[in-house]
Amino acid sequence: MPVIEEFCDVVVVGAGHAGCEAALACARLGLETYIFTVSVESIALMPCNPNVGGSSKGHLVRELDALGGEMGKNIDKTFIQSKMLNKSKGPAVHSLRAQADKSDYSLSMRKVLENQEHLTIRQQEVAEIITEDVIDNSDNGNIYKRIAGIKTVSGAIFHAKAVVLCTGVYLTARCIYGDVSQYTGPNGLMAANHLSDSLRANGIELRRFKTGTPARIDKRSIDFSKMVEQKGDDRVVPFSFSTNPEDVQIDQVSCWLTYTNEDTHKVIRENIDRSPLYGGVIKSTGPRYCPSIEDKVMKFPDKDRHQVFIEPEGRYTNEMYIDGMSSSMPEDVQFAMYRSVPGLENAKIVRNAYAIEYDCIAPKQLKSTLEFKKISGLFSGGQFNGSSGYEEAAAQGLIAGINAAQYIKKKEQLTLLRSESYIGVLIDDLVTKENFEPYRMMTSRAEYRLLLRQDNADLRLRKYGYQVGLISKEQMDYVNFKEEAIRKEIERVSGVNVSPTAEINTFLEGKNSTILETGAKLIELIRRPELSYQELAFVDRGRPELSEDIIEQVNIEIKYDGYIKRQKKQVLQFAKMEKKAIPNDLDYDDVKSLRIEARQKLKEFRPSSIGQASRVAGVSPADVNVLLVYLKQNKM
């Protein structure tokens, strides 16, 4: 039977948040790219919560944007409410979170994909990856495995130089609530049931993770008078560095806050044996971060209530997302449990809550570049790598896409360090640590978060986007100009003195700040927590006119100088260990004094540097010392 045979540079499997970024990056870098999806309607689908960003996830989106990704731009076009979280805290933990109009988000991204040069969308299930054995003349004729393309369920073959797997939660997916169990992807979409076998046959180790989503309820059946309204910020800050801030000042919709109560918890406790999670039907591992409501009630019996946020799924739909109450309880329990919540007494459920199980990989099989260690040219990103969340997925998708393109162009791979980005932390955590649950980004995972702020993502990462070719010269020029302007202004401010005039002291009194007896340095005044660079303009006559983003940086850098310097010092320490490379083919059996557990783990993870080795679980500082001594003795 004749089959279709096509040739391209890159095949991206899956068109979720990871797949979209990967495909766009490859196409934008000039490579002929195919993106496969089980349904064109499900491009950039948000099957769970209707928001983008949030604590630390907002950072990821900013970084993605700085590197040339699409998610930030797309949410700026389609958000319906926006908030800067943690505004009362330090600048490092300010985090943007926007409510998305789900269908708008998906449609808008689809439009971007459809109009992208070198990119073709193809609705078809990918059934197999095709690999070939290659003799490596540069490595004593050793044979290694290389990707050659993919095969669809219909038998069509797409030859490709690189393949990026972004299968999300679709691989052999199963949706469960109560004793209802269906082999579909989210929202009843077709699961991908063939690819897992092909991956296993190619030596890729798969495992099973689980996640879940709450019910959607008809807005008309909700009594909002029993809830607390949650409004967006008055002045909205865009995600993307290239969005004009004036374009995002829109009419926003509200979310609503209510709480579970003892009645809710009683319903759950009385029916807990009917939970597939507790009854043993679901054996896969769920995320601690997104516990189902039954998990929360059982694990935190002391809490007499849990918060529930009611969030709109979009501007033109009545469906409301019940944030905080994901579940896989049977339908009747779901009805009873939701209706016990104030304001939801008469709730009409549009879609049931459900849990979903899917195949994914243990990401230790990947390099820091997101390429498989054992199959050259095969990359992967997103939930397939064992993460959770749209933003985590998009960030990995972008890096996997960039590196697939670099691989084909035979250019240097892009690896971001923990000390320069949340994306670096995310990927490093994935490839060096044992993850037993879907991995979610958190600010506490970033050791150097004072330096990794959402406000300076452009200063940190634009250069990499520019180097690979996703960022234009104009954009890069602006970053260079901005950097210089910040430096100059801080230098200037450092020399400004303030005399103890009546004017300044009246101002200080008004701010509950200690008044000046003698002259003071302006820089010292800015450092007082109750004051800022902006507010002290009136005593700083020689101040040049600067744009908002530059002013913000000047203020932060001056105010938190002491802390920032301390972190920079820590980074220097970190960098030392990171630079000590471990040869790829190091024979750990030859390192005699390693403890058995450490040896096993090191063989398993094959860290690329001493720094990375020290983060592998099961490797103790003593083992790291042994390794250092060994490398030194053998002059490696």
Binding site: G324, A622, V626
Partner: protein
């Protein structure tokens, strides 16, 4: 290739059995050269590892007849070989030894002279003299022990007294570890709370939290300070209490020293790492060690002491941990005595009233007019008061008892430095609270404190914080 090292492992005191240890790739070859099995059929090569053998150590000479004629593997007494000692040797195969290398232990008849001769022979046969702590260093480098253990062993080795030994062993048991773990756990809990609130600001807020944290920090700081104070106490136990005896001529200083040493031999030691500008006598008093400054040769009787007078003693006294002021109870207090009494006021000092056969004219009441320092009445001849002096010193330095018995004691400089670092970091957190910094800044220094304490027990930060957040707080949607 590593060298083979050897050293006297039992210390250079006259004890029953002395141990010479050899470790390294050539340990067995070296043994073959210096050891003759009593059983002629045995050789170093043919005996099973981890066995003990009886025989003799000979005086090995390079280029001697025995060097030329005795093969490394054949066991044969050669004529004219000088036997140094009859011994037991333990032959242990790496990596299941202390250093993880091939190791030999020679149990000989103790005695500095014999041990030194055996060691010399071993060194001539190809081993190198080990540096202080080198066995332990190898054990550490070869992954046999972690840093805490390595340091505890070093303390045992270099300690002179029973109490120091106890402290070192407790550290091996992990009492420092447990204390540090408890401090870290509490710091971690606070970080987890802050992080939970940062991560999920809509579920957890930090209203009123800074004040609460500040109170907890006060407690943590107090405990750390106590731990640090224990280091100084530990140092006194390990290295001895630097003591100066004061007293005017003929008050009985020299007889006091003889009296303190009592039956025990005064041992002259050189303890590494301490600088001395005068000779010292090390005196054991129960479990305590007193390092008594030999103020111009206290032990020598004669006129020299008297000539040097009080002046020299005074200058040393400024640096002393403990002053022992001796007064002759048979003579009224004079100007010199009162000068001494005023000098010791406010210092850690003990007043010793030396009772002679003569009539007592100075009693406690008389002394009390000038000083509040504790008084012990001693009688050199009757050998009374040793226990009283010891008890008073314990009271003074260790609040009645040596802390090692029930409290945690820091004994190691590295641990002390890490504790100081943690202390400084926690103080910075208090500064941040006081100056009204946002809560996320607290974590920077809390994390530093957490990491510093972790270094003591060889733990890295890893996933601790994330795990704690999830364990303690109900997070997420």
């Amino acid at each position: 290739m590593r060298e083979t090292i050897a050293a006297i492992a039992s210390g250079m005191t006259a004890s029953g059995i002395g141990i010479i240890r050899i470790s390294g790739p050539d340990a067995f070859r070296v043994l073959g050269k210096v050891f003759r099995f009593a059983n002629k059929n045995k050789t170093v090569e043919n005996v099973r590892p981890n066995t003990i053998h009886y025989g003799h150590i000979i005086d090995y000479e390079v280029g001697s007849r025995s060097d030329g004629q005795v093969s490394d593997t054949r066991n044969r007494y050669v004529r004219n070989e000088t036997v140094i000692d009859e011994v037991l040797v333990m032959i242990m195969k790496g990596p299941h030894t202390y250093t993880a290398e091939d190791t030999v232990e020679i149990d000989c008849h103790g005695g500095p002279f014999v041990m030194q001769k055996i060691l010399t022979s071993v060194l001539k046969a190809g081993a190198r003299a080990a540096e202080p702590g080198e066995f332990t260093k190898r054990a550490f480098l070869n992954g046999r022990i972690d840093l805490t253990e390595a340091e505890a062993v070093m303390d045992v080795i270099s300690s002179g007294s029973e109490d120091a030994l106890k402290s070192s062993l407790m550290q091996l048991d992990g009492s420092v570890r447990r204390k540090i773990e408890s401090l870290r756990e509490r710091i971690l809990t606070e970080m987890a709370y802050i992080e939970a609130a940062l991560d999920d600001p809509e579920h957890y807020d930090l209203e009123g939290y800074p004040e609460k944290l500040d109170k907890k920090l006060v407690n943590l700081l107090e405990e750390l300070e106590r731990l640090l104070a224990s280091f100084d106490e530990g140092k006194l136990i390990r290295e001895g209490i630097f003591t100066v005896i004061l007293g005017k001529p003929n008050a009985g200083k020299s007889s006091l020293l003889n009296y303190l040493t009592g039956e025990e031999r005064a041992i002259v030691t050189e303890i590494a790492g301490t600088t001395r500008d005068s000779l010292e006598e090390t005196v054991r008093l129960g479990g305590l060690i007193l390092r008594i400054a030999d103020t111009a040769g206290i032990r020598s009787t004669g006129d020299i002491i008297e000539k040097m007078g009080v002046d020299r003693a005074m200058s040393l006294a400024e640096k002393a941990d403990l002053l022992l002021a001796v007064f002759d109870s048979s003579r009224p207090l004079d100007g010199d005595d009162r000068e001494i009494l005023s000098f010791i006021s406010g210092k850690k000092a003990l007043i010793l009233l030396n009772k002679s056969d003569l009539e007592t004219v100075v009693d406690e009441a008389e002394i009390r007019k000038y000083s509040n320092a504790p008084i012990v009445v001693i009688s050199a001849k009757m050998n009374e008061g040793r226990e009283l002096i010891e008890a008073q010193i314990r009271e003074m330095f260790f609040r009645g008892k040596l802390h090692v018995n029930e409290e945690i004691m820091l004994t190691n400089v590295r641990h002390k430095e890490a504790c100081e670092e943690a202390l400084a970091s926690l103080r910075l957190v208090r500064d941040s609270i006081e100056s009204g910094m946002p809560e996320d800044f607290y974590v920077v220094d809390l994390m530093d404190a957490y990491a510093a304490l972790g270094r003591i027990i060889g733990e890295q930060v890893g996933e601790d914080l994330v795990d704690m957040i999830f364990a303690k707080f109900c997070m997420g949607k």
